[in-house]
């Protein structure tokens, strides 16, 4: 099976190389048959890699420790539901997984959009017009595959054997990865990262082909949304994992690898907004192309950061010396983007000028500006330790304090814009209209601020955040209410049903608003950290510790043992207002195969706050257990916000109820329709 898997990866590489070379030659020489053959080869990469991935999974389940990767990352006693996580827990496996996902995306793109043989691109209906780009986009995807498959074959083979002998058991999976979140966080994150290759391929293909019209931007937007959705959920699940596993009471530490995932998210979000300027007004074409390029390049850069060890990180699960390969690939990718851009930039001329700074266009420009400033600040802070080492010879750490201080004001401004943006009209908005639409929400925001101050809260950032949250929620609610009320009057249906109808009639717009609500909830959850409390202390029998509104009492201490780990747990009674409300079991595990100890956090989560307990170990002298206790208000809203974002994104991806009519008869741009109206 080992050999079979290795050959499958090699076959995938050969197929990808053929697809790329034949595709390039086919397109340059306009050889239709060569192009079709290249497409078939791209399609075939996916089954080949599926076989390879299945082989590796089979070997993992068979505990075949002749395979170095499996000896390194798995062991016999590992429960089956964590064995699957072995696939992405180390360098070689995760690279194979990455290639497999990429080939899967290419497969879907090709299956969904391949031109039927013998059919010319110009015979396509408007609905299928983007299919003309699929052949070239698939060649670009094959090019990206060549790089990753080269790594799989020549730099980091998941099927390589141990140099000598076969150990009786493996080293085991890193205890930090033995959590249910690890079964879904990495695949989702990877689906996000890898997914950005698809909009990149379409965008580059459109540029190279000087593809007329804006159809390509629709398909690029749709694929960006898909990748963005996965990345969003992947990032938040990563936060959830950090929160539940790392035991420091937080979920986001501005770790370089977290930042690396956040960067393409920021540029992707910017693109999802600026793309509307191109669709509706024919503006910002150059900007959009570069946002798509930057998002893809940042995704690859993020992968490079995770794997190269350039910056030290908690995610050092998959580090090795393959950084050089990534540098070369990134250099080639940048060169290709630059060359394609300079050769064809006249094709990206803006069609309309901006008319007013109080317009939706300007709102989107500010949105992009803020998102990119945040992206720059994060990139800069992440790389600064490396820069300082080059310049001064010593590494200066740039941690949470820096990132919080720089980013919190930036994101608060973004939150404000999230409220303002949707109320701005295309082209121009009058002061009277602004006043009419903003007054109510602004008063509500001010009332919330006053209420917070009256409650004695003084930390400015959470207060501003709560006020802005109320402001944005009021605006979104107003948007839904107004539309639903009119619809309900017409159809005589209830407001709720009418709101659903309204959403389904313009999924993109109202899906976007739901996403904004998710962002607000997430912001409220983050703002809650301004009220966090923590304490720590020895917890011998009957000892007490107070945190937030709770009193903790140590009741007992238990031990357990199984094949994978031995564990010891504290039994802690939780009282609130003199009444017992829960019993919690913070524990520690000693993993036998890897010889590593891991704290198992006990978390009691409610909508208002979390009580989070970490058994940090025993005092070496007194042997008394030490407990860290955290009271984290509002944290649950972060996870709820992420769910709402996911829901909104799915809505925004659905075709609107009248989409069929619209696709056949695409809406004219604002300027054009304005002219028609004038006539």
């Amino acid at each position: 099976m080992q050999l079979f898997g290795a050959y499958a990866v090699l076959l995938a590489f050969v197929l990808a190389v053929y697809a790329f070379v034949a595709g390039v030659v086919g397109h340059l020489r306009r050889r239709r048959r060569l192009i079709v053959s290249a497409e078939r080869a791209t399609l075939a990469v996916f089954p080949a890699l599926t076989v390879a991935v299945l082989c590796l999974i089979g070997l993992i389940f068979r505990n075949d420790f002749t395979v170095a990767y499996i000896a390194e990352h798995s062991n016999r006693a590992l429960p089956f539901y964590f064995k699957i996580a072995v696939l992405w827990s180390g360098q070689e496996g995760s690279l194979l997984f990455w290639s497999w996902l990429l080939s899967g995306y290419a497969f879907v793109v090709l299956l969904g959009g391949r031109l039927r043989p013998g059919r010319a691109a110009d015979e396509l209906s408007p609905k299928h017009a983007h299919r003309a780009l699929v052949p070239l986009a698939s060649v670009i995807l094959a090019g990206v595959e060549v790089f990753f498959l080269a790594l799989n074959n020549f730099a980091a083979s998941a099927f390589a054997s141990l140099p000598v002998g076969t150990p009786a058991d493996g080293n085991g999976l890193n205890p930090l990865l033995q959590y249910s979140q690890m079964d879904i966080h990495p695949p989702l994150l990877y689906l996000g990262y890898v997914g950005f290759a698809v909009p990149f391929a379409f965008c580059l293909a459109a540029l190279l082909k000087r593809y007329p019209g804006d159809r390509w931007i629709h398909i690029t937007r749709r694929w960006t949304m898909v990748a963005w959705l996965f990345l969003t959920i992947g990032i938040v699940l990563g936060g959830l994992w950090a929160y539940k596993v790392l035991g420091w009471g937080g979920y986001w530490a501005w770790d370089p690898v977290e930042n690396a995932a956040f960067l393409p998210w920021l540029t992707g979000t910017a693109f999802l907004h600026s793309v509307m300027m191109q669709e509706k007004r024919g503006m910002l074409k150059i900007w959009n192309v570069w946002l798509v390029f930057a998002t893809f390049l940042l995704a690859i850069f993020g992968d490079f950061l995770t794997r190269s060890g350039l910056v030290s990180s908690v995610h050092a699960f998959a580090q090795s010396s393959i950084g050089g390969w990534f540098v070369i690939f990134l250099a080639i990718a940048v060169a290709v983007c630059l060359a394609a851009f300079f050769k064809n930039k006249d094709f990206l001329k803006s069609e309309n000028p901006l008319e007013s700074t109080a317009s939706r266009e300007a709102g989107f420009l500010f949105n992009n500006f803020v998102l990119l400033v945040a992206a720059f600040a994060i990139l800069w802070g992440t790389l600064f330790p490396v820069i300082s080492e080059w310049v001064e010879g010593q590494k200066i750490s740039v941690g949470r304090v820096f990132f919080d201080r720089i980013n919190v004001p930036i994101f608060l401004f973004l939150l404000f814009l999230t409220g303002v943006g949707p109320l701005l009209a295309w082209r121009r908005t009058s002061a009277a209209s602004l006043k009419r639409n903003f007054l109510g929400p602004a008063i509500l925001g001010a009332a919330v601020l006053a209420l917070c101050l009256a409650m004695g809260w003084r930390d400015p950032y959470p207060l501003v955040c709560f006020a802005l949250a109320a402001f944005v929620l009021a605006i979104v609610a107003m948007e839904f209410y107004r539309g639903a009320r009119v619809l309900s009057r017409r159809s005589r249906r209830g407001l709720a049903l009418s709101a659903v109808e309204l959403t389904m009639r313009n999924t993109r717009r109202y899906g976007g608003y739901i996403i904004h609500v998710g962002i607000v909830l997430l912001a409220v959850g983050i703002a809650g950290s301004g009220f966090n409390q923590q304490t720590e202390g020895p917890m011998p029998y009957r000892a007490k510790l107070a945190v937030g509104p709770y009193t903790l009492t140590s009741l007992a201490y238990t031990q357990d043992d199984n094949a994978n780990f031995s564990s010891e747990a504290l039994i802690v009674r939780v009282d609130q207002g003199g009444r017992e409300i829960a019993t919690m079991y913070p524990s520690r595990r000693f993993y036998k195969a890897s010889n590593q100890t891991q704290s198992m956090v006990a978390d009691r989560s409610t909508l208002l706050s979390d009580l989070y307990l970490v058994y940090a170990g025993d005092d070496p002298e007194t042997n008394q257990p030490i407990l860290h206790a955290y009271w984290n208000p509002l944290i649950a809203w972060i996870w709820i916000g992420a769910l709402v974002i996911g829901f909104g994104t799915i809505i925004a991806l659905l075709p609107s109820r009248t989409a069929a009519a619209r696709r056949e008869n695409p809406p004219a741009r604002v300027a054009e329709t304005a002219e028609v109206a004038q006539v």
């Binding site: 990180s313 600040a377 009419r436 539309g483 009639r505 313009n506 717009r509 202390g537 520690r588």
Partner: protein
């Protein structure tokens, strides 16, 4: 950098005393404990996880856990010895290198890390305003000052009617679709 104590029992005893002292002090709101927490918030845990403040590291994976414990003892001793915060932090930098500081210093080369995001924001804003200005200057003069409302609804006549009605109700003929 490894912190070495004269003997292991000495390290253990001083650690236990320091921890116990600080924890009980923390419960009573002791100024020493407050200072301890204030300083701990300015220091990082010098461990490979590189993500927690000194006060927060409960990561048992930390190979530098022993260093952290030693740092806590040292911190508590320094706190009690009455040195200024600045001096205590400097001692940490000497012991562990500049990486121990939770935030980069605001002097010397590190100042650049603080300034650059705002410089970039300033440049970006300037570029944005320049683009806005340029575009507005390009606006065709023949066009009416207020553009007439365009049909809304993204091709959906029903939705267009709804949006027009909302706009009418609000006396707002501007197009937000």
């Amino acid at each position: 950098m490894q912190v070495r104590f004269a003997s292991r029992p000495l390290r253990r005893i001083s650690l236990a005393l320091a921890l116990l002292g600080l924890f009980t002090a923390g419960l009573r709101g002791d100024p020493v404990a407050e200072r301890y927490h204030r300083l701990a918030a300015k220091l990082r845990c010098v461990c490979p996880c590189h993500q927690s403040m000194l006060s927060e590291c409960s990561n048992m994976q930390c190979s530098a856990r022993a260093q952290l414990d030693a740092a806590m003892v040292k911190l508590s001793q320094k706190v009690r010895s009455g040195d200024s915060d600045e001096l205590i932090l400097q001692a940490f930098v000497q012991e562990f290198g500049p990486e121990v500081l939770a935030a980069p210093p605001t002097h010397g080369f590190s100042l650049v890390v603080w300034i650059m995001p705002w410089v970039a924001a300033g440049l970006g804003l300037w570029a944005l305003l320049a683009v806005l200005h340029y575009w507005r200057a390009q606006r065709p003069s023949a066009e009416p000052a207020t553009a007439p409302a365009a049909p809304a609804g993204d091709g959906d006549p029903a939705l267009a009617r709804v949006q027009a009605e909302i706009a009418r109700e609000l006396g707002d003929w501007e197009r937000r679709e």
